[in-house]
Symmetry: C2
Subunit: 189 residues, 2 copies
């Protein structure tokens, strides 16, 4: 108890995902996650506020990355393109090395209404942060709001297709395809 | 008790909105709403499952209207246009005569996290139903999903602007403007 455990966070995350997948999110306790990871509950709570947090702790880092990317995007990029470029870049920066985690997480979330709600809230918060970033680039409302919301729509679709894809195509490619598709459905071309 | 009350639903709705606005949604009880409306709690529960339902009972009718409109839209309309036309038509069909209700409802929802979450879930469910309607028109995925999500983004922005507008411009006009804005931010024109 209390001593430093090597890679405790990663072990807890893997144990939690295994258990959520085996038994369903709602049936798993923190005690069981800790036991499966060979760690104590106390160590669990040093890393995560609760079991749901195992699936959502990365949201802050993702938001920070996306907002930073939009802030740094060339001023010439149209608003939605700036958002789409940030989303595409998040693949290399965050998701590609966690593809298996992302896939399993997606399946767990799809099977639980409470987690789906939490995911909706996370995405709404991302959209609000991206709209703020666009306003800092001088994009007025409602354009900033719409570009951010449209970007999140692109991300949702791209992310689902990426996690659902059996192959090795990168997330960035799915983002670019969904972006092109959005332009097509919007303009009817 | 038990006898038919003229316009009980409307009276309960008005009483609830008054109380939510005065005291905040979380501080109001069903007993207080019934009392303010001059009705019994039993009558309240004949009309609404709980106090939150006063703000969300119209969601089913809205979804039915939008899905029906997309089903009936001319086949030549691009996917997002079919959705936008349905959203614009919902103004005349549903919202214009309830503008004051919609305004007050929006303010109540904006001030309560639980209600915002419920609203997000409602909109996600609308997006899923609209994507299904587009698939019935022969629109493939991911186009159906993206057009529906983009349509909901347009609706969110248009609805907020409509409820925030002091004038008398119809919702349909805000929908068309937001739609044009979406095309502009998507294509950079």
């Amino acid at each position: 108890m209390g001593r430093w455990e090597p890679n405790a966070r990663g072990r807890l995350e893997r144990a939690a995902l295994d258990l959520f997948t085996e038994r369903g999110f709602e049936k798993v306790t923190v005690a069981e996650i800790a036991e499966r990871a060979g760690l104590t509950e106390r160590t669990f709570f040093r890393h995560f506020a609760d079991k749901r947090e195992v699936l959502f702790w990365g949201a802050g880092a993702l938001q920070e990355f996306l907002v930073g990317s939009v802030d740094d995007a060339p001023g010439s990029l149209p608003p939605v393109e700036a958002v789409a470029a940030a989303l595409a870049a998040s693949g290399e920066a965050i998701f590609e090395e966690r593809r298996e985690f992302a896939r399993r997480r997606q399946a767990i979330i799809a099977s639980n209404a409470e987690l789906q709600e939490r995911e909706l809230i996370k995405l709404a918060s991302l959209a609000a942060a991206l709209a703020d970033a666009l306003r800092r680039r001088g994009v007025a409302d409602p354009a900033a709001r719409l570009a951010a919301e449209a970007g999140i729509a692109v991300f949702k679709v791209a992310f689902e297709r990426w996690t659902g894809d059996a192959g090795q195509r990168p997330l960035a490619q799915f983002v670019r395809e969904a972006m092109a598709e959005l332009t097509a459905v919007t303009t009817g071309r």
